[in-house]
């Protein structure tokens, strides 16, 4: 049985399981860190931190977990955990674990199927340093008291703790409090990372005083804060690895440290991945003296072969690491560690690394070019990345890599980066676009959210597949030709590929920039009406883009237009679309930037000799009335063409001409082809 058949088979699992998984989940944003304070009398460390949210996601049958090891001999012992079974009866389970109160509590919590909101806040004994105190007072979060089975649960917890720590059941008492937040918060930066065997990974950890007006003073020595990392793969294997080095200002002397309100102090540690580490996910656990934190970030140990500089064209991104197929995603990235076998390049976008590297923060589109350089890896470093495939290509002659524009670049700098150093004139500058002319080109640059996104790709050919979001045209004054400047991928889960039926080389287009948006040319797929011998039907493909909740969606429809066919987007069509979105969004909330996409409709006359392409501002749908923002008149068939050398376009009575193949040949014969 292969994976496809198995996935099919999963389609027939118990419907009750499916129904349960479809129930609404109250969205609760996991806080960045949530620390509870446990009073510990210690000479060197004033605070001990327990992460209540360190939930045991899955307990293997042996219960042989990476439990907190108590200060005394780390002997695990058989512990009886009492829990509430499904039929409401209290059952008992023997578990082998190091018998700290947190371990016992977490195991009890797991067996009862309780969530992160149930926390152990504090445990006090009448003899705090002695495990066999006669009385135990347990401080719990209020969530347990508010549970529907609170009485039975507390009863089971009472039995568990009494049995575990050798006290009478009635001497275990409970106090309910909200989570106490520590004024001193530990934080870390351990993003998802991929690293190879024998490689290194950097992790930054720090402390921050989160009070407004209180200095936090604590005594300790950095040696007490030496983290000890354990790499643990899937809770069953772990490799213990000591960390190097100490921070620069480390000292073995005990000293007093003071953090002012808002002040933080951090250090970056480098961890070595053992050469013989097994491939797979690892958790990192860092200890600071008596404090211990389990970091959520995972490290995946993989293997690849590193090669040298390559030009890469991103063919597609596969999901799993923050990208979706044929999509764009905003992120900071650095490309590193890849393998090129002459055909495919396997590489990894290391989101983690990019946070510490000067890098580009913006959109990456399918078809983008990127040059990879690395100065940090050594030749013996091997990592392999799964699930990301890039197609390497040699850049065509004369094509330069696209420049990346940063928000604080001046317009002149931005244009210079794009290769337009001889800007003769900024014809028009609008809120999000600028029209410029140079010696050889007349160009519209569209700025999106502070970035100019111009990419050159000359490999688009008829029959190619691309996901279209927008197309920008470049007009060359010298040759009188327009070219696709770039095709930009759409984002989100609804991106649709279209097939480019016809490139626009040789076509003339005139446009107007409105105050609200730049022109977006939508591809009109012509199967014959634009040719000399006019057929009966005309295919028209409409692409439209929605932006909502920060995501964009490309929607595409094709129509077969007949004589006098007037195709428009009706309000019913929009309603149906909205209904489809509601399943995902819960509630539909659209935010159409006024500069965003247009819809279009085409009117053809009876003879199919002319067409009117009306483009509407999609944003106006919110008001219920589509508004035409741009109109192009299209001439079809055998016409006298007039070439205006000053404007460099073909016009006739202010009408735009889409040239047929035959017409194009005529023009091509007159003018030298570009490149």
């Amino acid at each position: 049985m292969n994976e496809q058949k198995f996935t099919d088979l999963l389609g027939h699992i118990d419907p009750a399981l499916i129904a349960r998984a479809e129930e609404s989940v109250p969205m609760r944003k996991k806080p960045s860190f949530r620390i509870t304070l446990v009073a510990v009398i210690a000479a060197l460390l004033a605070l001990s931190l327990l992460l209540g949210a360190a939930a045991i996601a899955f307990i293997p049958k042996t219960y042989d977990l990476d439990y907190e090891i108590p200060k005394q001999e780390n002997a695990s012992k058989v512990t009886q955990i009492y829990y509430l079974s499904e039929n409401g009866k209290i059952k008992r389970q023997s578990v082998l674990l190091p018998p700290t109160e947190q371990n016992v509590f977490m195991t009890w919590k797991h067996l009862n199927g309780l969530g992160d909101e149930v926390q152990l806040l504090d445990v006090t004994y009448n003899d705090a340093a002695n495990w066999s105190g006669s009385y135990i007072t347990v401080q719990l979060s209020t969530a347990l008291r508010e549970h529907s089975d609170s009485e039975a649960l507390l009863d089971s917890l009472q039995k568990t703790l009494a049995r575990s720590f050798g006290v009478m059941k009635q001497n275990v008492s409970f106090i309910f409090n909200d989570t106490v937040e520590s004024p001193l918060q530990f934080y870390y930066d351990l993003p998802d990372a991929f690293v190879g065997t024998g490689g290194k990974i950097d992790i930054t950890v720090g402390m921050r005083n989160v009070t407004d007006n209180q200095n936090i003073v604590f005594t300790g020595a950095w040696t007490d804060f030496v983290p000890k990392a354990k790499l643990r793969a899937d809770s069953t294997i772990y490799v213990e690895q000591l960390i190097l080095p100490l921070p620069n200002d480390s000292t073995t002397e005990i000293a007093e440290y003071c953090l002012a309100p808002g002040e933080s102090r951090e250090v970056t540690y480098t961890f070595d991945i053992p050469e013989n580490a097994e491939l797979g996910y690892y958790d990192l656990i860092l200890s600071f003296g008596d404090a211990k934190m389990t970091f959520e970030g995972a490290v995946e140990v993989v293997e690849t072969t590193v090669t040298g500089d390559e030009y890469l064209q991103f063919a597609e991104f596969l999901n799993g690491y923050g990208f979706t197929s044929a999509s764009s995603t905003k992120f900071r990235w650095a490309l590193e560690n890849f393998k090129y076998d002459g055909d495919n390049v396997f590489a990894r976008m290391n989101q983690a690394k990019a946070k510490w590297m000067p890098g580009y923060s913006g959109d990456i589109w399918d078809g983008d070019f990127c040059r990879y350089q690395s100065t940090t890896f050594d030749s013996g470093y091997t990592t392999h990345v799964q699930k990301s495939t890039f197609t390497a290509t040699t850049l065509p002659d004369g094509v330069k890599l696209p420049a990346r524009i940063y928000p604080d670049d001046s317009l002149t700098d931005a244009l210079a980066k794009l290769g337009f150093s001889n800007v003769q004139e900024i014809v028009e500058q609008r809120q999000n676009s600028v029209l410029i002319s140079t010696e050889t080109a007349y160009l519209c640059l569209r700025f999106e959210k502070g970035y100019a996104s111009i990419d050159y790709c000359d490999t688009i050919q008829d029959g190619d597949t691309a996901v279209v979001r927008q197309m920008h045209l470049k007009y060359d004054l010298a040759t009188g030709k327009f070219y696709y400047l770039y095709i930009c991928a759409a984002s989100s889960n609804y991106a649709l590929p279209i097939t480019i039926i016809r490139t626009n080389q040789g076509q003339s287009v005139n446009w107007e920039l409105s105050d609200e948006q730049s022109l977006r040319l939508l591809e009109a797929v012509n199967t014959g009406a634009w040719e000399l011998d006019t057929p009966i039907y005309t295919d028209f493909t409409l692409s439209m883009m929605f932006s909502f909740n920060g995501d964009s969606m490309l929607f595409e429809e094709s129509w077969l237009l007949d004589t006098n066919c007037y195709m428009e987007i009706s309000s019913l069509f929009i309603e149906e679309l909205l209904a489809g979105f509601s399943l995902y969004q819960g509630e539909v909330a659209f935010d159409f930037p006024v500069s965003d996409d247009a819809l279009a409709y085409v009117e053809l006359d009876e003879q199919h000799t002319q067409a009117v392409l009306n483009m509407l501002n999609c944003g106006k749908w919110l008001q219920g009335v589509p508004e035409i923002v741009s109109t192009m008149y299209c001439q079809v068939g055998d016409q006298d063409l007039k070439y205006d050398p000053d404007l460099g376009i073909f016009i006739e009575n202010d009408r735009v001409l889409f040239l047929s193949a035959e017409e194009k040949q005529i023009i091509d014969a007159i003018l030298d082809p570009y490149m």
Partner: protein
């Protein structure tokens, strides 16, 4: 309309059953299809096919949960359509990734020769899923039944992406071990 009333229409061979199914579960099924196919046109086609298959299967089928029954049909048709669509092209998006992940479970060699054995294995898988903590089970189902992207699953349950990946990885490993112990592997 209540599910049992819709089922009555199916059993009475009253074509209103289709309209009522569409009315009640059309959006739900369309969501499942779009999640797999990423294409509105194909998704609508699959949903339309769903009604036909439902009509042809009820009776004799009499599902307890009509919504999940119809959603399961849509899922099946959509996966077939997805396989057809992606046969010639690269990529494949979310479904392809889910296949890659499930491969870890089946790579040991699942050996079921007959439909009866498949049904038995399905019962065993149900048992495995019910034995999981609810959250882990739901995450597994959202990923491999609904084929939700991992980031959507993470968002749904308030977890980080890496946490979800870990949970899924562990669950897959446990499922594999479970199937081996149950004797379904070579």
């Amino acid at each position: 309309m209540q599910d049992r009333d819709i089922l009555d229409l199916y059993f009475a061979r009253d074509e209103r059953a289709i309209a009522e199914s569409n009315q009640k579960y059309g959006t739900y099924c369309l969501g499942i299809a779009k999640n797999i196919l990423q294409n509105m046109q194909d998704a609508e086609e699959c949903v339309n096919d769903t009604w036909l298959r439902a009509w042809n299967s009820i009776p004799p089928a009499c599902p307890d949960r009509l919504g999940q029954y119809l959603g399961g049909i849509t899922r099946h048709i959509s996966l077939d359509k997805h396989r057809y669509n992606t046969r010639a092209s690269r990529g494949g998006g979310e479904v392809a990734l889910a296949y890659d992940e499930i491969k870890e479970v089946v790579d040991s060699g699942i050996n079921v020769a007959t439909q009866a054995e498949e049904r038995e294995m399905l019962v065993a898988i149900d048992r495995f899923l019910w034995s999981l903590p609810e959250r882990e089970c739901n995450i597994f189902i959202r990923r491999y039944y609904h084929l939700d992207p991992i980031k959507d699953v993470a968002k749904r349950y308030g977890l980080t992406v890496s946490n979800v990946k870990k949970i899924l990885s562990r669950t897959r490993a446990s499922l594999r071990e479970f199937l081996e112990k149950e004797g379904y592997t070579v």
